[in-house]
Every structure is written in structure tokens, then in C-alpha cells.
């Protein structure tokens, strides 16, 4: 009897030990982001967002009682390196989930490898519409807004809030610019407005003045521009030189066109420039204030859209884990799709049809006052009001 009870005790202890050993086995997350190369500044915010969320979740007990462990890898801003390191992370380190890739090419490659390995991945930064469109994969999720969502949100808001029916598109003449042009054109038509002209200067054009006669004669009410940052500086200063900005047309564009870094070089003509973005640290809700405070106190800087989306991704994993009650690939994938989870900027829905998060967008207006510039949140466009076409046919 004594012996039996000793055995039983030992067995119970062993089972208990086994169970707790299993619970102690961490959930392995691969953070594959750009720590060097052109995209490194973005990589910093991605890493900060992910690490902040993981530490919060681990301190609160982890994912279903399991801690999250992180393996950090640098993709050197290069899609080929991203592919190689993703393979290594899945096969040798044995991670369950990879996130952090910035370059759209890298994200597409990681999605392909995740599918092959029977694991999961997500991007929190990549813009290319195809990632959750034509090239969608069951194993790849996206929590950030892609280029199409930005365009849709901006035009939807402009159509409802800005006087005038005449729209003009100005975009650099290369793949991204042409993509954006067709997305803008669709949205303009859908909103019942008129596209009066499309001007396509080369990328990196030095002088935009040779297009100004075409702009003036088209008599637009709204100019939509897809010029990247440095081109936008010349475009807006030269419009200013010709007395065509600010205040003559409503000028709106891609997020990243006018930034804290280049607004000083533009000055007065940037006043009133509108853009749609997934985030601003100035969003005034209790959840966001709390997040911004936590972020600032730890990293000594403001979070940007990349940080908040990367932070939100880890909480998406937590929400899905709790919904599924398990952490294996199949259960987690099924739970992520269609789930609603809360983020510092409110609830988001991960669409089941294309693995793309439907997110609220914020209309940001640049205000110039002498030598200081501010990026104020002018309005919020609800996810439900932003049309996103489902172009995903793979699942």
C-alpha cells in the first residue's frame, strides 16, 4: 500500500512535471526584419513594437500560459536574404511564426516558405496590394493598410468632405506610381467624381514647372499626388513658386510624401496637405495614450505606424490563441482568420477572405505656422466605409 502510494505520488509528480515542462516550452517567434540597409530605420520601429508587446504579454502570463521567445534576424533590406533566413528560422530554430519583413518582395518570399513549411507568418509594414491580393497565401497575414486601402480611404474622405468634382492625379511614371494611379482612378469613379487629367512625370523629376500649364488648364479642384518624399519637396515648393499652392487646390497624397523630415524644406506650400495614414501618435483615445506612454518611457521616442502595427500583431496572436485554445498552426490559422482584436487605435478585423486586416484610417492634415509644422488628425475614416476589393483566389 505504502509502496503503491509512493509510486502513485511519483507518477503524479512526473505527469505534473511533464505537463509543466510542456507549458514552459516557449512559443517561438521569428522576428525577421531589416536591421541594416535602406529599410533599417523602419526595422527599428518594427522591433520596438514587437518587443514591447511580447514583454507585456509574457509578464501577464504569456500565450495560454506559454512564454513567447524571440529569435531576431536581419534581412539586410534584401528579399533574397529574407528568404534564406526565413528557411533557417523555420527549419533550424523551429519558430512557429515569422513577422517583421518590410520589403514587399521579402514578405512574398516569406509567405511562400511559411506555406511550404506548414507554419505561419505576417507582415506589419509591406504595402504591395498583391500580398493579400493576387499573391495571397493561407499562411500569410497582413495587419497594416496596403496602398489600395490608403487610396480608397483618402478618396472616400475627400469625396465627402471637400468641395468640387474635378480630380487630377500626378504620379511618378513607374510601376508603383502607375498602380496607384489606377487605384485612385477607380476610387474617383466610384465616388462619382471626374478625373480631369493624369500627369506622369518621371520618378525623380527635377523641375515640375513644365507640367504646371497642363495642371492649370485642367482646372482641378483636388490634386492627388503619389510622389515620394524628395519629389514631393520639389513639386510643392515649385507649385508655391508659381502661386499654385497653398490654398489654390486641395492637395492630397500618399503617406510618406510630406514627413517631419522634409516638411521644413517645403515650408508654406505644404500647408493643408492631406494624407491618409493608419496611425498618428496624436490620436487621442485612452488606449492610444497608454500605448504611447509605455512606448516613450521604454524607447524614448514616439511610436509610428510601423511600431503600432507590429505591436498589434502580437496581440492578434494572443487573441487568436485564446479563441483557439491551442497554439498549433492549423488551430491558430483558423482562429486568426475572421477574428476581431483590440489595438491601441481600436478594434480591427482580420478578414477571413484574404487575410487582410480591415483598419480604420486617419486623415492627417499638415499645418504650417511660421517655421513649425504639425501633423494633426483631422478625421477618422471607419474601416466599414473603406471599400476593399477581395482579389484573393488561393483560398
Amino acid at each position: 500500500m505504502n509502496r503503491i502510494s509512493t509510486l502513485l505520488c511519483a507518477a503524479t509528480a512526473l505527469v505534473g512535471l511533464g505537463a509543466s515542462a510542456l507549458a514552459d516550452e516557449p512559443f517561438k517567434l521569428g522576428l525577421l526584419t531589416s536591421k541594416s540597409g535602406t529599410l533599417a530605420p523602419v526595422g527599428v520601429q518594427v522591433e520596438q513594437g514587437v518587443m514591447l508587446a511580447i514583454d507585456e504579454i509574457n509578464a501577464a502570463g504569456g500565450l495560454l500560459g506559454r512564454q513567447i521567445s524571440v529569435t531576431l534576424e536581419d534581412d539586410e533590406s534584401d528579399p533574397q536574404v529574407a528568404a534564406r533566413k526565413a528557411e533557417r528560422l523555420y527549419q533550424q530554430v523551429g519558430v512557429d511564426f515569422i513577422t517583421g519583413t518590410i520589403h514587399s518582395g521579402g514578405t512574398l518570399a516569406v509567405g511562400q516558405i511559411a506555406e511550404r513549411e506548414g507554419k505561419l507568418a505576417a507582415t506589419t509594414v509591406s504595402y504591395a496590394t498583391s500580398i493579400t491580393g493576387e499573391s495571397c497565401r493561407e499562411s500569410m497575414f497582413r495587419v497594416n493598410a496596403h496602398a489600395g486601402i490608403q487610396a480608397a480611404a483618402l478618396v472616400t474622405w475627400l469625396a465627402q468632405n471637400v468641395e468640387g468634382d474635378r480630380y487630377l492625379i500626378l504620379a511618378p511614371d513607374y510601376e508603383m506610381g502607375r498602380d496607384a494611379t489606377s487605384m485612385f482612378a477607380q476610387q474617383i469613379e466610384a465616388a462619382g467624381k471626374t478625373l480631369v487629367n493624369t500627369v506622369l512625370p518621371p520618378l525623380g523629376a527635377t523641375d515640375f514647372s513644365t507640367y504646371f500649364a497642363a495642371i492649370r488648364s485642367a482646372q482641378p479642384d483636388v490634386i492627388l499626388t503619389m510622389t515620394p518624399g524628395s519629389d514631393t519637396v520639389r513639386l510643392l515648393t515649385q507649385l508655391g513658386e508659381y502661386g499654385m499652392a497653398p490654398g489654390v487646390y486641395t492637395i492630397a497624397g500618399a503617406s510618406g510624401a510630406v514627413t517631419a523630415g522634409n516638411v521644413g524644406a517645403i515650408g508654406e506650400p505644404a500647408n493643408g496637405f492631406l494624407t491618409a495614414a493608419g496611425y498618428s501618435a496624436e490620436i487621442d483615445t485612452p488606449e492610444n495614450r497608454q500605448f504611447v506612454e509605455a512606448f516613450r518611457s521604454r524607447f524614448n521616442q514616439d511610436p509610428d505606424v510601423f511600431a503600432v502595427d507590429s505591436y498589434s500583431l502580437v496581440y492578434l496572436l494572443k487573441a487568436a490563441a485564446e479563441k483557439a485554445g491551442a497554439l498549433d498552426t492549423q488551430a491558430l490559422r483558423d482562429a486568426i482568420r475572421g477574428t476581431t482584436w483590440s489595438t491601441p487605435v481600436g478594434d480591427k478585423i482580420m478578414r477571413a477572405e484574404d487575410n487582410q486586416a480591415a483598419v480604420d484610417m486617419f486623415v492627417i492634415e499638415v499645418s504650417i505656422d511660421g517655421n513649425s509644422a504639425s501633423f494633426g488628425v483631422k478625421d477618422r475614416v471607419l474601416a466599414a466605409d473603406i471599400p476593399i476589393e477581395d482579389k484573393c483566389t488561393a483560398f
Binding site: D173, L200, P201, P202, G204, A205, T206, D207, S209, T210, Y211, F212, A213, A214, R216, S217, G229, S230, V233, R234, T237, Q238, E241, Y242, G243, G261, N262, G264, A265, I266, G267
Partner: protein
């Protein structure tokens, strides 16, 4: 007939004027380049970085409280200083070595990379602004021209005239042309050719820096600005005739019109392609360029 007139007046003419101003900016950048090439036989790949040196110096001087028009005279001396060092410690010692032209190309290319990185480190990657000293727009009928662009056009035209006069109507100009024509012979006549080289390089650098100052209020300034401009300036001096002041003007203005009028009829990305096609054609059919080189005409 009426519609043709209104097309010419409302669409064509304003476009010609826009192109004229853009073309003159290209001439301004090309002047120093053509001078250095024509007289020294050096294709200075760091010319774009001398341009940004002028622009950045002007931004710094104006920020320090100097009036714009004083900065216009002072700022190019940073470019002159850099140019002097390039000639004195870089190009000078290479003279007489085998493969001199290739060596100068490699040297100036290396220097351009160093200067661009230095600008990035010192001033950051974001563009900087220099407020134009003259604002407002001149409106004549359908032609809209910012007053500052008109001023830059006038200054450039005066510079071109002065440079041409200096090269072709003064004793110093005759010396410069003689050095370009036959270095050994001129040296044997007692002309200090080393000094002529340094002086010419400094003058070319001054012009690059001056272009940087005058154009920064229009194009802003970033570490990449010079690099973007320099290809067009090269095409211009190749089409116009390397070393020819007159050729640089004609070709620069033509390039401006290709951008401006071209954008009326063809996709603008093709304008740049056309300019380089024109450059290739000139190189094949008339390698010396449309107009004669300095010292040879």
C-alpha cells in the same frame, strides 16, 4: 485658324517659356563643366558635388544671418576650395601619367562619392530649403513665371555673355585657349600652365557652386541633388561641343525645350530618353559636338 492661334498662345507659348527657364538652369550647371573639360580635358564627375557644396554653404550662411545676395558671392567659395584641393592634390600629381583621362575619371568619381557621403553625414538625408529672395509671379497673358526664375535667367544670361567675352576677347582668355590647344608649346613660351590649370579648375568650381546657390531656392538641396542634375549637364555639353560656351547654351536651352514641349506630345519619361538618344547620335555623327571646342575654332 483661330483655334491654332489659341493653341499657340495658350498652350505652346507658356510651355516654351517654362522650358526656357528650365533650360537656362541646365546651362548654368553645364557652364563650369564645359569650361573644365574644354580647357583641362578633365571630365569632372564631382561637378554635381561642387554644385551641392555651393547650395549647402548658402543654406548655412543664410541661416547664420547673411543676406541672400551676399551668400550668392560667398557660398561658391566652398566649392572653389574643394575644387582647388581636387586639382592641387588629386589631378595635378596625375598629370603626365599613362591613361591620364581614365585616371581623372576614376579620381573624380571617387571624390564625388566621398563628398556625397560627407554631405549626408553633415546635413542629413532630408532636403533643405533656401527661401527665394524674390517672390511673386510675373503674369503676361497666359504666361506665368515666378519672378525669382526670371532673375536667375537674367543672371545666367549675363554670366554666359561675360564668360564668352572673357574667353574670346581678353588676353587671359587667349592664354587659356592657347593652353587648351597646345599645352607644351604654351609652357615653352613661359606661360605658367600649372597656375592656369588651378585657376581654370577654381573658376569651373565657382560656377558649379554659384549654380548650386542660385538653383537651391527652386530645387531645394539634398545630397542627391547634384547627382540628379549632372547627367543632364553631361548630355548638354556632349551635344553642344565639349568646351564650347556657345554650344552649352544652345544645347542646354534645347534640352529644356525637349522637357517642356516634349511633355505636350509624348509621355514625359521619354523626354529624358530622347535627350540621351540625341547625345548618342551626336557622338556617332559628330563626336566633337555641334559647336567647336575651346581653342579650336
Amino acid at each position: 485658324m483661330d483655334s491654332l492661334f489659341s493653341y499657340l498662345y495658350i498652350v505652346f507659348l507658356p510651355q516654351v517659356f517654362d522650358g526656357l527657364v528650365v533650360g537656362m538652369a541646365i546651362v548654368l550647371v553645364a557652364l563650369g563643366l564645359t569650361l573644365i573639360f574644354g580647357l583641362l580635358g578633365v571630365l569632372n564627375l564631382a561637378h554635381g558635388e561642387l554644385y551641392i557644396a555651393g547650395g549647402y554653404a548658402a543654406v548655412a550662411l543664410v541661416a547664420a544671418g547673411l543676406p541672400f545676395w551676399l551668400a550668392v558671392f560667398a557660398a561658391p567659395f566652398l566649392a572653389v576650395g574643394i575644387g582647388f584641393m581636387i586639382q592641387q592634390f588629386g589631378l595635378g600629381p596625375l598629370q603626365g601619367r599613362p591613361h591620364y583621362p581614365i585616371l581623372t575619371l576614376l579620381l573624380t568619381f571617387g571624390i564625388s562619392l566621398i563628398l556625397r557621403e560627407a554631405a549626408q553625414t553633415l546635413a542629413g538625408p532630408d532636403p533643405l530649403r533656401l527661401a527665394p529672395p524674390v517672390t511673386g509671379v510675373l503674369v503676361v497673358g497666359e504666361i506665368f513665371l515666378p519672378k525669382y526664375r526670371v532673375v536667375v535667367f537674367a543672371i545666367s544670361a549675363a554670366l554666359v555673355a561675360a564668360l564668352w567675352w572673357g574667353l574670346h576677347r581678353t588676353l587671359l582668355g587667349a592664354v587659356l585657349r592657347a593652353v587648351a590647344y597646345d599645352r607644351q608649346m604654351t609652357a615653352s613660351l613661359g606661360i605658367p600652365t600649372r597656375l592656369v590649370f588651378i585657376g581654370t579648375f577654381a573658376m569651373g568650381s565657382f560656377l558649379a557652386g554659384l549654380a548650386g546657390v542660385l538653383l537651391t531656392p527652386i530645387y531645394s538641396i539634398s545630397p542627391e541633388s547634384g547627382h540628379g542634375f549632372i547627367l543632364l549637364a553631361f548630355a548638354t555639353i556632349i551635344i553642344g561641343g565639349m568646351g564650347s560656351v556657345f554650344g552649352a547654351v544652345v544645347a542646354g536651352l534645347a534640352v529644356g525645350q525637349m522637357f517642356s514641349l516634349g511633355s505636350l506630345w509624348i509621355p514625359p519619361v521619354w523626354a529624358e530618353t530622347l535627350i540621351f538618344v540625341a547625345m548618342l547620335l551626336v557622338l556617332i555623327v559628330r563626336p566633337q559636338g555641334l559647336f567647336s571646342q575651346i581653342g579650336r575654332g
